[in-house]
C-alpha cells in the first residue's frame, strides 16, 4: 500500500518536473520592452513578432531565441581632448541614449548590444571631433547666459544631426533618442593654471580687504581725533566769551571806586595781603612796623585826649 502511494507521488513529481522542462524547451517569454527574435537553423524568422507575452518555439538546436532589449540604453564616450576653432584644448564626454528600432537589421549588422555600442562610440567620437572644430571656447563657455545656451544647444544638435545622418546611411537598425555633452573639462595643465589664477585672485582679494580694513580703521580714529579737537576748541571759545561777559559785568561796578580811588586801592591791597597771608606764611617784620613798634622803648604814643575836640 505504502509502496503504491510512494509511486504515485514519485510519478506526480516526475510528471510536474518533466512538464516544466518540456514547457521550458518549447516556450519562451518575451517581457514588455523586449523583442524575441526567433532564429530557426540560423535564419531569422520574419516577420518578427514584437508583442510581449508567451511564445512558442522548437527546442534547441532547431530554434534559438535572442531577446533584444528595445528600451533606450545609454553609452558614454571617454573624456576626450579636442581642439576648438580658436585652438583651445578641451575635453568632452558625450552621452547618448539609443535604442533598437529594427531588430532584424540590428542582428544582421551589429549582432550584439556590446558591438553596437562600440560602433556607436566611434561614430560619436568622429561627429564630436568635427563639431568641436567649428566652435570657439567662448561659444560654449560665456558669461552671456542666453548666447551661451543657444550656442551650446546648437553644438549638441550639430553632433546629433551628423550622427543620425550617418546612422541612417549605415542602416544599423538603431536610433539615437538623445545626445548630450555630459562633461566639458580642460587638460590637467590648463586646469592647474586656472586653479593658480583663482588662488592668486583670491589672495589679491584678501590683501585688498585687509588694506581696506586698515585704511578704514585709521580713518575712524583720525576722524574721532579731529572731532575731539574741534569740539574742545568750540568749548574754549565759548568759555572765553563767558569770561568776557563776567569781566564786562564787573566793569560796570568799578565806577563806584572813582569816589575815592586811593581808598579803593588801599583796601584792595589789604584784601590781597589777607589772601596772600594764608597758612604757614613766613612774615619778616621789624619793630618799626605797627603794631610791633609797641615793642620799642618809649613807644607810648601820644594819645590825644578828646580827639574829637
Amino acid at each position: 500500500m505504502e509502496t503504491k502511494r510512494n509511486s504515485f507521488w514519485t510519478f506526480l513529481v516526475a510528471f510536474i518536473l518533466m512538464s516544466i522542462f518540456v514547457v521550458y524547451l518549447f516556450a519562451y517569454q518575451v517581457p514588455a520592452g523586449k523583442v524575441g527574435v526567433l532564429i530557426r537553423l540560423g535564419d531569422i524568422k520574419t516577420p518578427i513578432d514584437e508583442t510581449p507575452g508567451l511564445k512558442f518555439r522548437l527546442p534547441w538546436p532547431f530554434d534559438e531565441v535572442r531577446l533584444l532589449d528595445m528600451r533606450t540604453r545609454l553609452f558614454s564616450t571617454k573624456l576626450q581632448e579636442c581642439l576648438t576653432k580658436d585652438k583651445r584644448n578641451l575635453n568632452f564626454k558625450i552621452t547618448a541614449g539609443w535604442r533598437i528600432v529594427d531588430p532584424n537589421t540590428f542582428i544582421n549588422r551589429l549582432k550584439t548590444v556590446e558591438e553596437a555600442e562600440k560602433s556607436l562610440v566611434s561614430r560619436v567620437d568622429s561627429a564630436r571631433g568635427r563639431a568641436v572644430g567649428e566652435v570657439e571656447l567662448h561659444d560654449l563657455i560665456n558669461e552671456d547666459f542666453n548666447l551661451q545656451q543657444e550656442k551650446f544647444a546648437a553644438f549638441e544638435d550639430k553632433i546629433k544631426e551628423t550622427l543620425n545622418l550617418e546612422l541612417k546611411q549605415a542602416d544599423w537598425g538603431v536610433t539615437i533618442d538623445f545626445l548630450t555633452v555630459q562633461q566639458i573639462g580642460f587638460p590637467q595643465p590648463t586646469t592647474n593654471d586656472v586653479f593658480k589664477r583663482m588662488i592668486a585672485e583670491r589672495s589679491e582679494e584678501s590683501k585688498k580687504i585687509i588694506s581696506e580694513g586698515e585704511s578704514e580703521g585709521e580713518s575712524i580714529v583720525s576722524k574721532a581725533e579731529a572731532e575731539k579737537r574741534s569740539q574742545l576748541a568750540l568749548a574754549d571759545a565759548k568759555a572765553r566769551i563767558i569770561r568776557g561777559e563776567g569781566d564786562a559785568a564787573a566793569a560796570k561796578h568799578y565806577t563806584i571806586f572813582r569816589q575815592n580811588p586811593e581808598l579803593a586801592n588801599y583796601l584792595r591791597s589789604i584784601q590781597t595781603l589777607r589772601k596772600v597771608m594764608t597758612e604757614r606764611t613766613t612774615l619778616l617784620l621789624t619793630t618799626k612796623q605797627t603794631p610791633f613798634d609797641l615793642l620799642e622803648q618809649d613807644a607810648v604814643p601820644e594819645v590825644k585826649i578828646n580827639p574829637g575836640q
Partner: protein, 693 residues
C-alpha cells in the same frame, strides 16, 4: 560477495567517476560560456563527487580481490584436507593473504587519507567561494582568479539550462541505480558515491530552474545558488570532518559492517531508497548503537513530515497569487511578460518625429491602463504573472558632479575625508568633477588689466549636486492623472536604467548651466534661483527623453570652489574679511574712547568760565556795595579806619602764619615750632644767622 556483483559494483563506481568527471568539464564550459557563477561553484562539488567515486572504485576493487583471494585460499585448504596432504607452509591463526592485507591497508590508510583530501577540498572551495563572493566589490581580484565577476546578465541560458538538466538526469539515474545496488551490504560502499551523485543531480536541477529564471531576466535564482553551493560544500566538509572524528568513538559491534569513512551521512539521506527519515533514523542507530528508529516519536515524524513539508511548500507557492501594493507605490502586473490589459506598448517617439507625431505618441502612453493602486490584489502565481512595483511617492536621490557608490545614497567618500566635517581645503568626495564657469565680469577686467589673459577666461566649481526625483510622480502633486499613468509606464519600459539616464541628463544640464552662469550667483547671491532653474531644466530634459519622473528639488548646498589650495584661498578671503572687521572694530573702540573724552573736558571749560563770570559779576557788585560802606566808615575816621583795617589784616595773617618779629639791634626770633627751617629761610633773607628757639 559474488564475483559478478563485485565487478558490476566496480563498473558502476567507475561509471560514476567518469560521469562526474565529464560533468565537471560540462560545468566548466557552462561557467565560462554562459558567465555563470553557480556553475563555477558546482564545478568544485562535482570534483568532490569524482574523488568520492575514485576512492569507492579502488575500495570496491580491493574488497573484491580480498574476497576472491579468501575464497581461493579456503578452497585450497578444503582440497588439502580432503586429500590429506600436509601444508607446505605453516599457517597461523588470523593470517591473511596479500589482497586482504591490501584491503585492510585501504581501510586503515587509503580511506582516511582520501577523506581528508575531500574534506580539505570542500572546506577550501566553500570558504574561498564565500570569501570571493562577499568581497566581490572590495577585492574583485580574488574572485577573478577563478573567473568570478560581479553578477551580470547570463548568456546562452538555453544551453546552460539544457546542460544542467542533462547532467541532473544522468546523475540522478546513476545515483539511484547505485543507491539501489548499495542496499546489498556486500557493495554498500557504493552508497557514498550514490548519495554524492544524487546531491549533484539535485543542485544541477535547481541550476536548471535558475537558468530558466535568468532567461526571463530574473537573476535571483543564480545569485541564491551561487551562495548556496559554497555553503553546501562547507556543510558537507564539516560533516565529513565530524564523522572522521566520531568514527574513533563509535561502538564496534561484532558482525556489523563499518561504513566507509568518506560516506557522508548528509548525502546518504538522498541515496537511501527507504526515504529520508528512515535513513536519518538508521544513521542515528548506527552512530549510537541502539534502535532510535523504533521510538514512537520517530515513527510519528516519519508519517507526518512529508505531507507537512509539501503543504508548507504549496502554501508558500500559492502566496505568490496574493499581491499587496504598499502605500506610496503602484504596481503593474505582467502576464507572461505582457502588462495586464495592454496588448502591446506604444512606440516611443523618434528624434525625427514632428511635434504633432511626438505628442500623439506620448498621448498613447498617457492613455494606457491605470496601474494597480495600494491595496490587496489577486494574480496568477509566479511565473505566470509577475509584479513590477513603482515607488512613486518615494523621493529618490542621485548625485551629479561626483560618482555615487552602487546601492548607496551618497557620493563616494575620499579616503582622507573626515566623517563629520566638510571643509573646502580638504578633499572629502572622491573624483569630484570641476565644472567650468565663465570668469565674472569684475575678475575678467582685473585679469585683462594685469595682462594675464593667456589662461582661458574660466573658473571652476565642484561639488556633488543632489537631484531629488520621484518615479511617475506623487498622486497628490499630479495635476494631470493621465500624464502620471503615462509616466509610470515610461519609467518602467522606456529605459533599461532610468536612474543612469537621470544622472546623465542631470549632469548635462548642470554642465550646460554652469558654462553660462555667474560664479557668485551660483555660489552665494542667487542660490535659490539657480536651484529652481536647474530643477525646471532637468524636468524638461527628463520629459523630452521620456524617463517618466518628477524632479522635486535640486540642491546646490554642496557646491564649492575646487577643494584643496583653491578652496583654501577662498577661506583666506573670509579670514581677511574677518580681519578687516576686527581692525574696524578696534578703530571704532579707539574712536569711541576719544569721543568719550572730550565732552567732559569741554563742559569743564565752559563751567569754569560760567563760574568765573558769575563770580566776577557777584563779587564786583558786592565789592562795590561794600566799598560804599567802607567809604562811609573812612569818611567818619580816616586814619582810624585805615589803621584798624591794616591791623585786622595783620591779625588774620598772623593767626595762621609763622610770626616773626625782628627788634633791632638785638634780634629776637619767634618761630613756629612746626617750621623747622624757618630760621634758615629768614636768615638767608636778612643776611643774618638765626637759630630756632
Amino acid at each position: 560477495m559474488t564475483g559478478s556483483l563485485g565487478k558490476r559494483a566496480e563498473r558502476v563506481a567507475l561509471g560514476g567517476f567518469c560521469l562526474t568527471l565529464i560533468g565537471m568539464f560540462i560545468m566548466w564550459y557552462v561557467a565560462y560560456y554562459c558567465n555563470s557563477i553557480s556553475a563555477r561553484a558546482e564545478l568544485f562539488h562535482l570534483l568532490a563527487a569524482t574523488l568520492v567515486w575514485g576512492i569507492s572504485t579502488l575500495h570496491l576493487r580491493a574488497q573484491r580481490q580480498a574476497e576472491d583471494e579468501k575464497a581461493a585460499l579456503d578452497e585450497a585448504e578444503r582440497l588439502r584436507i580432503e586429500q590429506g596432504k600436509p601444508r607446505l607452509f605453516d599457517r597461523e591463526e588470523g593470517e591473511t593473504g596479500i589482497a586482504q592485507v591490501r584491503l585492510k591497508d585501504m581501510e586503515r590508510w587509503g580511506g582516511p587519507i582520501a577523506t581528508i583530501i575531500i574534506i580539505v577540498l570542500q572546506l577550501f572551495a566553500g570558504g574561498y567561494l564565500l570569501y570571493a563572493l562577499a568581497n566581490l566589490d572590495n577585492a574583485p581580484g580574488i574572485a577573478a582568479l577563478i573567473g568570478i565577476t560581479p553578477f551580470a546578465e547570463l548568456s546562452n541560458t538555453t544551453f546552460a539550462g539544457a546542460a544542467a538538466f542533462a547532467l541532473a538526469f544522468f546523475c540522478f539515474a546513476l545515483g539511484k541505480y547505485a543507491a539501489g545496488m548499495s542496499r546489498d551490504k556486500q557493495v554498500g560502499i557504493l552508497r557514498a558515491g550514490a548519495g554524492y551523485t544524487i546531491s549533484c543531480a539535485l543542485i544541477c536541477f535547481i541550476q536548471m530552474i535558475a537558468y530558466a529564471m535568468a532567461y526571463t531576466g530574473w537573476l535571483t535564482g543564480e545569485k541564491i545558488l551561487s551562495w548556496l553551493i559554497p555553503i553546501i560544500l562547507l556543510a558537507m566538509g564539516l560533516e565529513m570532518a565530524i564523522n572522521l572524528v566520531l568514527d574513533f568513538y563509535r561502538p564496534r559491534i561484532r558482525g556489523k559492517e563499518p561504513r566507509p569513512i568518506y560516506d557522508s551521512r548528509l548525502t546518504g539521506l538522498l541515496a537511501e531508497p527507504q526515504g529520508l527519515f528512515k535513513t536519518f533514523a538508521h544513521t542515528m542507530d548506527y552512530q549510537l548503537g541502539f534502535k532510535v528508529s523504533e521510538t514512537w516519536f520517530f515513527q510519528f515524524l516519519n508519517h507526518a513530515i512529508a505531507p507537512l513539508i509539501l503543504f508548507q511548500l504549496l502554501s508558500l507557492y500559492l502566496l505568490t497569487c496574493i499581491l499587496v501594493v504598499q502605500p506610496g507605490e503602484v504596481a503593474v502586473i505582467e502576464l507572461w511578460g505582457r502588462p495586464r490589459g495592454i496588448e502591446t506598448l506604444p512606440p516611443a517617439p523618434l528624434l525625427s518625429d514632428s511635434a504633432a507625431e511626438r505628442a500623439a505618441k506620448e498621448a498613447a502612453w498617457d492613455n494606457l491602463q491605470p496601474p494597480l493602486e495600494p491595496g490587496l490584489h489577486l494574480k496568477w502565481p509566479w511565473p505566470i504573472e509577475i509584479t513590477r512595483r513603482v515607488p512613486c511617492e518615494l523621493v529618490q536621490e542621485i548625485f551629479v558632479g561626483a560618482p555615487q557608490a552602487e546601492g548607496q545614497d551618497e557620493p563616494l567618500k575620499h579616503e582622507s575625508a573626515t566623517p563629520d566635517v566638510v571643509s573646502w581645503d580638504r578633499v572629502h568626495t572622491k573624483d569630484e568633477f570641476a565644472y567650468i564657469m565663465p570668469l565674472t565680469r569684475e575678475i575678467k577686467t582685473e585679469v585683462e588689466n594685469n595682462g594675464a589673459a593667456e589662461t582661458p577666461d574660466v573658473m571652476f566649481v565642484s561639488g556633488a549636486i543632489a537631484v531629488h526625483y520621484s518615479a511617475g510622480g506623487s498622486a497628490a502633486d499630479s495635476q494631470n492623472p493621465k500624464r502620471r499613468i503615462g509616466d509610470i509606464y515610461r519609467y518602467l519600459y522606456r529605459f533599461d536604467d532610468a536612474k543612469a539616464a537621470m544622472i546623465s541628463l542631470s549632469e548635462r544640464e548642470v554642465t550646460n548651466y554652469m558654462a553660462g552662469a555667474n560664479f557668485w550667483n551660483v555660489l552665494v547671491d542667487k542660490v535659490k534661483e539657480t536651484e529652481k532653474d536647474l530643477t525646471r531644466r532637468i524636468q524638461q530634459a527628463a520629459d523630452r527623453a521620456g524617463i517618466g519622473v518628477r524632479v522635486v528639488f535640486v540642491s546646490l548646498s554642496n557646491v564649492h570652489p575646487p577643494v584643496g589650495e583653491v578652496g583654501k584661498a577662498f577661506q583666506e578671503v573670509v579670514s581677511a574679511r574677518e580681519k578687516m572687521f576686527t581692525i574696524i572694530h578696534q578703530a571704532n573702540a579707539q574712536a569711541a574712547q576719544i569721543r568719550a573724552s572730550w565732552p567732559g573736558k569741554a563742559q569743564t571749560m565752559i563751567n569754569e568760565a560760567i563760574g568765573y563770570r558769575d563770580e566776577r559779576v557777584l563779587l564786583s557788585e558786592a565789592e562795590s556795595k561794600r566799598f560804599l560802606n567802607q567809604l562811609t566808615a573812612f569818611n567818619a575816621a580816616p586814619n582810624v579806619y585805615l589803621h584798624r583795617e591794616r591791623m585786622r589784616a595783620i591779625e588774620e595773617g598772623m593767626e595762621s602764619a609763622l610770626r616773626l618779629t625782628v627788634v633791632p639791634p638785638d634780634t629776637v626770633a619767634f618761630f613756629d615750632a612746626k617750621a623747622q627751617d624757618t630760621a634758615g629761610v629768614v636768615g638767608e633773607a636778612l643776611g643774618k644767622e638765626f637759630k630756632n628757639p
